[in-house]
């Protein structure tokens, strides 16, 4: 077995056998030259790295105006890309499209939850989203020092949560 890269002489880690026109061709390549040849390699990438790669890869050169933004918490997709953390549960819907490929890469191609469902799941996403919206309004009311409105909103949130 040959141990050096055909191209640069470094230790080869990729062995490739191609059949071209009935002719068997063996290639020995190092990781770098294999990548240059367009042969993808599955390497050891920790999850944090995966996220970073994804963030860097899709960063920049985008139309600011069309950027997805969560109407509930105000987070933009580029903010998520910078920090790596989402702002609120609604982001999963607000960023559904750009998040999908990231989720698939991070979870072995999975697209749907297959595990436990909470007993009270029927109380539903709608209710959860409604409370989130109320909380965002509450935050705004407090910022505006509109305490009357804040008190009303707080009562509404309590009512929702105990229902």
């Amino acid at each position: 077995m040959k141990n050096q890269c055909d191209k640069c002489g470094k230790p080869a880690t990729v062995y490739l056998t191609e059949i071209v026109g009935g002719q068997k061709i063996e290639k020995h390549l190092c990781e770098h030259c294999a990548a240059a040849e367009g042969i993808t390699i599955k390497s050891n990438v920790p999850i944090s790295q995966l996220l970073e790669d994804f963030i860097l890869q899709s960063a920049g050169g985008e139309d600011e105006a069309s950027e997805p933004t969560c109407e509930v918490c105000g987070m933009t997709f580029s903010q998520f890309r910078q920090g790596g953390r989402l702002g609120c549960p609604n982001d999963y819907d607000a960023f559904a499209k750009p998040l999908a490929p990231l989720l698939e890469r991070a979870h072995e191609g999975a697209t749907h939850h297959m595990g436990k469902v909470p007993h009270r799941a029927d109380s539903g996403q709608k209710k959860q989203a409604a409370i989130l919206r109320l909380r965002a309004q509450l935050k705004a009311a407090i910022a505006d020092e509109d305490y009357e409105r804040a008190a009303v909103l707080r009562d509404q949130i309590k009512e929702f949560e105990s229902s």
Binding site: L51, L86, G87, A110, T111, A121, F160
Partner: protein, 351 residues
């Protein structure tokens, strides 16, 4: 139960027994949960963070296990106490170093730790000695079920339990084992294991989690995938396949070493014992390295008068925060090195 009572002994997970204990130090499961209708932590105002802390604190302390639980207000705790909790694996380093309102509820035997306002609103962990993943998963499910009676967690019909970082979404379940793999390391086979682990979508980390070096031949292996598999599937992949095969690799490597180079093993172990019993300055890294070899020797029955329980305790009690608590004074790293060597000599020359 108070924090100060913890320092004199090691937690349950270091008890030094349990299935496959020669290789598997401890088993850990973690669930990430967020309150429905609340932003994730980064988008919360401080008032909201306080609200979450108070609400979850009340709920976790109202559960059936409550009488045995104690609560640490991590924001109010001193630096040494926070480091103590990290060394005992009861909170993460990020949790210790943050500045927002947060806390942790811990069971008396330290098998259960419920972190409030870490990266997610609630991070629940069960940590057990040896290879007890199935048991740990049962424990954590019971806690989660009980909390769900009274709390709504953020849940999505497609993505499952929602988490601040999309890498935890779905089950929010992280399953991990702490492995002691000195023979694979010595024989240069550890890289192979790393490759195998990454092919199986597992993550390998050091003793103290994310971003830490593996010191003293301890490796923490955990699942990366939380979406698209059920909790039982994730747990049983570990229990039935992965962990037993890693344990087998390590045991084989130990047997081979013992068969081919017994003097080399005995020499390493004896030198480690001698150093621990006589050195005057000892860093925590060196202590870890030497204790790891002594532990290997004890498991292979190549060393007299060293029991696993003492060795395990020393792993913990010689860490910086523990050492300072036991000796009841704050010390610089240089002072600690001398104090650590003293403490080790005292403990190891008794037997």
């Amino acid at each position: 139960m108070r924090l100060a009572d913890l320092t004199q002994h090691a937690g349950e997970w270091l008890r030094g027994e349990g299935p496959m204990y020669d290789v598997v130090i401890s088993s850990r499961v973690r669930l990430a949960r967020n309150l429905a209708g609340m932003p994730f932590l980064g988008k919360c105002t401080e008032t909201q963070q306080q609200e979450i802390e108070q609400r979850l604190r009340t709920e976790v302390l109202a559960g059936p296990a409550a009488p045995e639980m104690f609560y640490v207000d991590v924001r109010a705790a001193g630096e040494l106490d926070r480091r103590l909790l990290v060394e005992r694996h009861l909170i993460s380093r990020q949790h210790a170093e943050a500045s927002h309102p947060r806390g942790v509820a811990v069971s008396g035997d330290e098998t259960v730790a419920l972190m409030i306002n870490e990266e997610d609103h609630l991070r629940m962990q069960v940590l057990r000695t040896g290879f007890q993943l199935a048991q740990a998963f049962e424990d954590i499910s019971r806690i989660d079920d009980a909390l769900e009676q009274r709390l709504d967690f953020a849940f999505h019909s497609r993505y499952g339990y929602l988490t601040a970082c999309p890498t935890n979404v779905g089950t929010g379940l992280r399953v991990s084992v702490m492995l002691h793999l000195p023979a694979l390391k010595m024989t240069g086979q550890i890289e192979k294991l790393f490759h195998a682990a990454s092919d199986m979508h597992l993550e390998v980390r050091g003793l103290y989690g994310e971003g830490t070096e593996a010191t003293g031949d301890f490796f923490q292996i955990s699942n990366q995938t939380t979406l698209g598999k059920s909790e039982q599937q994730i747990v049983s992949e570990f229990v039935d396949t992965m962990v037993p095969s890693f344990v087998q690799y390590e045991r084989r490597a130990r047997e081979a070493l013992l068969a081919e180079r017994p003097a080399a093993i005995d020499d390493k172990v004896a030198r480690s014992v001698a150093l621990l019993r006589s050195a005057r300055l000892m860093s925590s890294d060196e202590t870890m390295y030497l204790l790891s070899l002594v532990r290997l020797g004890a498991n292979l029955r190549r060393v007299e008068g060293m029991d696993l329980k003492t060795i395990n305790e020393l792993f913990l009690l010689t860490q910086p925060a523990h050492l300072q608590r036991i000796l009841n004074r704050e010390m610089t790293p240089d002072q600690r090195a001398a104090a650590r060597a003293d403490y080790l000599r005292r403990r190891l020359n008794l037997n």
